[in-house]
Amino acid sequence: MVETPEVPARRTQEFFLGEGTFPQPEATENLLVNMGPAHPAMHGVIRIFTELDGERVVKADVEIGYLHRGFEKHCEAGPYNNAMPYTDRLNYVSPLINNFGYCSAVEKLLGIDVTERCQYVRVIMSEISRITDHLTCIGATAMELGAFTVFLYMIKAREFLWEVIEQVTGARLTISYGRVGGVKADLPPDFEPAVRSAFRETRTVLDEVHKLLTGNRIFVDRMKGVGVLSREETISYAITGPMLRACGVPFDVRRAAPYWAYDRLDFEIPVGEAGDNYDRYLVRMAEMGQSMRIVEQALARLPGGPVSVDVEGRPLATPAEYVDRGKLGKTDGLLLTPLRLSPNLRGQERAAHRTVNAPDKRVVLPPKADTYGSIEGLMNHFMLIMEGFGIRPPKGEAYFAVEGANGELGFYVVSDGTDRPYRVRCRPPCLPPTAALPRMIEGSMVADIVPTFGSVNMIAGELER
């Protein structure tokens, strides 16, 4: 029989009270806790390094860069329009605004104006994107505070809006709809009723959410007076957008320096007072209503309705038939013959093309009907597509700012006169609030990090580029 070594008996008190042989600490020690980079309440990969005294945050540091993909470096490597898919992936919740912001910066550098219809199309699509962005922000914040219903409702509304976006651009997220000098294609003919029905759904959802959240004791207690940043500090941190307006500063790029058609549309700038999470929530809710108002006005004023291909009653032909006829020398009236395009190219017909694109052959690709149907169109197409040609703005630099969903989204583009941008800088609207995040959470409870981080609405793709 093997003798087991004798184990000294321990009183249960030692186990449960930490008394006896355990050293008794003279003072409490602060605890270092990582939140992230992968955490269920994190909207993206970010690491919040906190020093805790009990439940209280003593000190915090934010580490970013987990989603850095070298957007600015990649933009320098290709022609101007090639940056469009990269801009989709900046703020992937409202990619249309990024598209148009970049396009407008290059247009400013070129010194060209887009057509009236294009301006309205950009306004409409940007505002729809802004609604989807705010829906996501509020939905996610509410979910993290336990209101899962709100999240489902808001994602449902976002889904209706994304269907509209999909109708226009052909994609839900990676839309690449903007083009320097215009947009990829005109709005589809059934666009307006689709928007109206999506807005009806969104309004219902917003009403329901108002009832669920705005007076909800749990929600208000978690949001009110939490994450406060004074007006001076918000400005010193260069925070723009809903977070600045929540402190009562009515700064909105759409009003301060109107671009596209915003100076002709009537809308209000909702502002808060306290600069806390609750006011940020209220500002975002009110802004969605204003965005819908803008879209409805813009739809009513949209110049030049959609044009269908066979409006002139001419026979339609496919691009291949064009080529065959050209080979046989039957080129009479070829330029005037409308083309039957694949559904993927809907909205790119000659007539529609003219209404949404700037009349500048150095910048805008000709309509597909011209590319396939005439030598001038083909040459024009080649001159923009072939390497070393393309869009060539004169030497110089331009900064263009649009109101993104999180604040001022600026693009600073430097041209060296070649077909590639020499430098593209994106001023990400969610970098300043993320930089101010330690300031907002220091001194608060651990549980307050979650709603504050939600109201910052950090989008990693844009923050880290």
Partner: protein, 165 residues
């Protein structure tokens, strides 16, 4: 205040330290000597007529391969200032030589300069004198080189690093 008036005010106050002023596509720009940059930024923020209370953006440009620019400094640090109270903008540029890439920090003036300057250090290797905590912002400390410099090849690989401890 309109852009020309802003530039005129800066010229009047700083004279020869303003190396160049310009207006391209409606963006008003002043190129400033580095020696007086800190003073100029403070003036921009505190002057009663200018009141640039927001540092909208801070970035840099590497002019190493810019065609037709053989002389002159390699880098330019670019400040976009905005005044929330007055609603006007200006762009301030500072030439920075390659062999002495240091610029005075704007952290005492605007809190956001902290992260912007960390990003410029990360991407361009330009140091900010007086910055409290100049770490890389987007990349990791073991990263070799500064990727937005024009002599950093886009397909360059970095060695893999292990966990820190």
């Amino acid at each position: 205040m309109d852009g020309h008036a802003i530039l005129a005010r800066l010229r009047e106050r700083f004279g020869p330290a303003i190396l160049e002023t310009g207006d391209h596509r409606g963006d008003h720009t002043a190129v400033v000597d580095r020696a007086r940059l800190a003073e100029l930024l403070r003036f921009c923020r505190d002057d009663a007529a200018l009141r640039f209370d927001m540092l909208m953006d801070l970035t840099a440009v590497d002019y190493l391969k810019f065609p037709g620019r053989d002389a002159g400094a390699r880098f330019e640090v670019v400040y976009h200032l905005y005044s929330v109270t007055e609603g006007h903008r200006v762009r301030i540029k500072v030439p920075v030589e390659e062999d002495d890439p240091v610029v005075p920090s704007a952290v005492p003036l605007w809190a956001i300069a902290n992260w912007y300057e960390r990003e410029v250090w990360d991407m361009f290797g330009i140091r900010f004198d007086g910055h409290p905590d100049l770490r890389r912002l987007l990349l990791y400390e073991e990263f070799v080189g500064h990727p937005l410099r024009k002599d950093y090849a886009i397909n360059r690989r970095q060695p893999l690093i292990g966990p820190r401890n």
